[in-house]
Amino acid sequence: MFPILSNRQLSDAAFEMTVVAPAVARRAKAGQFFILRVDAVGERVPFTFSDWSAEEGWIRFIYMRVGATTHKLTHLQAGDVLADVVGPLGVPSRAGGLGRVAVVGGGVGAAVAYPVAREMCASGDEVTVILGARNADLLILEDEFRALPLKELVIMTDDGSAGEKGLVTHPLKAMCEASAVDHVMAIGPAIMMKFCAATTKEFGVPTVVSLNPIMVDGTGMCGACRVTVGGETKFGCVDGPDFDGHLVDFEELMSRQRVYVDDERAADAEVYRGCSCHL
């Protein structure tokens, strides 16, 4: 059992949970993920770390309420427990020796981008962060990013309610055109990562994307998370989650992410039946 230290709502869509898991926190690195199971009938769901403390023995992640597991998560409070937390899993993100880096965080992808950008800064890379959200209310972790020694923080919203109005690919393209970037790390919805990779490809700027395929065990045993990269099948859990964005088959990734959409609704409806909330 893994006790919850805090669970708070960050925006209309995002929640942040902090959980006691000393063995996992001890070895966690930026870009890695863990798997949790809420309760005895819970699904195994992967989340990438947004933060952790090896000294204090906790891990933190940010989630949106999209299905049964995340619905259950929203109802938990400090002092409640998660049935299972296992990790850290996956290969850590590269940091250091990358030169001028643009880290793009879209939606809750900003949560994953935060420790990656922090690690890059600490490793001597020059980091520009581009955060994207539909509107100001959905923007997360702005203060945390501002506290990092970034070269620049660029905020983009679809409606212009915070930062500039437009997509994250606009400033990214401008950086490429100005030859102001050596390496790009894009983390967010598959469609955003796809367009980031398409933007940088014509400039030949190496672009890494952090993928979030469906997983079960998370240790290479089931192959649910397979993605096609450069024509080869890779397992997101043990070969990733980071891959060369110019080689990823995003159409396949998006199709595979949708396989259980109907089932997820059914499972969520089942959770609703036993639940008094009106989220």
Binding site: V38, V41, E43, V86, M221, S255, R258, A267, A269, E270
Partner: protein, 486 residues
């Protein structure tokens, strides 16, 4: 009923003190099982197990040979003669003790061991027709033991504490057998399991209808009674390394029994379409995650109407029969050789046939086709058998221009596994073979002195009992090392 002695080896040794057992010449006692049409929509166990009368009738067939060959046929050398002798005498308790002296998981092995290739294959009666149903009798005793409450169950003697600590990586058959043996020898054992439930393939792989999960958990419960500690949710190679366990956590030795790992895909077009599963994923969703209870359990599984299973082993049979139970209208097995070469147990093939699994033999998949990201059909070619290959089986060869397409909405790949790359991260300097499996000698000794390994992670995918045999044997080598004898 007077029976002339047929025991060919009888009388070679000193005479037994007891009056000689007169073997019954009745035919092999069939295993009672659920009706095919009743069981095919249910996950309840197919084989029901012998009643007391059936067990006695079957045990009575045993010749109680003076030099029993069956014991050598068992990878863990269970004293089969003694446990059957005990059933003959109606002493179930002594039978259970004889059995558990060599096998910590009898109710599991009685169900899933391929006895027909092991102990029963070398039974003297096999030469004369039907061998004694050793596996069914093993299960009978294992189940009798589990039917008692925990306090009155047979408890193997545990040696005096040695003060030595051993870490076991993986709680599948190899790890559990190793842990049980080490605990009985008085060592402190901690088993690390990466999933949320212990049992490994017994829990995620073998379906409920063949091996009920409560049997597995009851056997594991007894191991914990012997002092074995099991820690779930720890991935060795991720959460801890073996080196850390030895250096920082105070273990004297480690045993790696991490299993075979990564599922193999064929590399044919369309394999990443929605509706294509590895057998590992399909079975894990259903068994470990209980997707058959969805949406009461949160994990979904794609419930196909027409399901193609590629492969011919026990895992393929498990996947096919599981698909039927999830409500598939049609399930067919695509196998590139013939029934004769199928590695699956005959009993499993027979049960599959009864339940309506269709067998498309001499067929090899070429491509999986789909629409809007989902599987719609599988394209295969006809094969014929040519010259024997390295495995001794006749190698299948394509028949030119014989491609055909079969409509289906699910494809399950059960074509084997390979080594998990996490193993290489488990311990620095561990020698791996070119396929990524751990190199270990016959005592499980790896290239690192305090690290031992056994089971599928050394041999590649094999059987539950072979993994258990390796775990047990290695436990003795570890014991020798810890007590300064090795």
């Amino acid at each position: 009923m007077l029976v002339p002695p047929v025991d060919e080896t009888a009388g070679q040794d000193a005479p037994e003190p007891k009056p000689r057992h007169k073997a019954s010449r009745a035919p092999r006692t069939p295993m009672p099982e659920r009706e095919p049409m009743q069981r095919v929509r249910s996950f309840a166990e197919v084989n029901l197990g012998y009643s007391v009368e059936e067990a006695h009738a079957e045990a009575a067939r045993c010749l109680q040979c003076a030099n029993p060959t069956c014991i050598d046929g068992c990878p863990v050398n269970i004293d089969i003669k003694s446990f059957i002798g005990a059933i003959i005498e109606g002493d179930t308790k002594r039978g259970v003790e004889a059995l558990k002296a060599r096998n910590a998981l009898p109710a599991v092995c009685g169900r899933v061991c391929p006895q027909e290739e092991q102990c029963e294959a070398v039974c003297v009666l096999a030469r004369k027709g039907e061998p004694v149903a050793i596996g069914r009798l093993e299960r009978y005793l294992g189940d009798s033991d589990l039917a008692c409450d925990l306090e009155s169950r047979c408890r193997p003697a545990v040696g005096a504490p040695t003060g030595k600590r051993v870490a076991v990586v993986g709680s599948g058959p190899a790890g559990l057998a190793c842990a049980g043996e080490l605990a009985m020898l008085g060592h402190e054992v901690v088993v690390y399991e990466s999933l949320h439930e212990p049992g490994g393939v017994l829990v995620y792989g073998i379906p409920e209808f063949r091996l009920p999960k409560e049997i597995v958990s009851a056997e594991i419960e007894m191991l914990m009674e012997l002092g074995v500690e099991i820690v779930t949710d720890v991935v060795i190679g991720a959460t801890y390394t073996v080196d850390e366990l030895l250096r920082e956590e105070g273990f004297d030795c480690a045993f790696i029994g991490a299993g075979a790992g990564l599922p193999v895909f064929m590399g044919i077009p369309g394999e990443n379409l929605n509706g294509v599963y590895s057998a590992n994923e399909f079975l894990t969703r259903v068994n470990l995650m209980r997707a058959y209870e969805f949406p009461k359990s949160d994990t979904p599984v794609w419930r196909g109407r027409k399901v193609a299973v590629v492969g011919g082993g026990n895992v393929a049979m498990d996947a096919a029969r599981t698909a039927l139970r999830l409500g598939a209208e049609e399930v067919f097995l695509v196998y590139r050789r013939t029934a004769h070469e199928m590695p699956a147990r005959r009993e499993e093939v027979h049960h599959g046939e009864q339940e309506g699994v269709e067998f498309k033999m001499l067929c090899a998949p070429l491509e999986i086709r789909g629409r809007d990201g989902f599987v719609t059909s599988i394209v295969a070619t006809r094969m014929e058998l040519g010259e024997p290959d390295a495995s001794g089986r006749r190698a299948p060869v394509c028949v030119l221009d014989s491609d055909f397409e079969i409509e289906c909405d699910t494809v399950i790949m059960a074509v084997g596994t390979r080594a998990n790359p996490l193993v290489a991260k488990a311990a620095k300097g561990l020698d791996l073979d070119r396929r990524g499996y751990i190199v270990a000698d016959e005592n499980g000794q790896t290239s690192k002195r305090r690290v031992f390994a056994g089971g599928d992670i050394v041999t590649g995918a094999a059987t539950v009992i072979l993994a258990m045999g390796a775990g047990k044997k290695t436990a003795r080598a570890i014991d020798a090392r810890l007590s300064g004898r090795g």
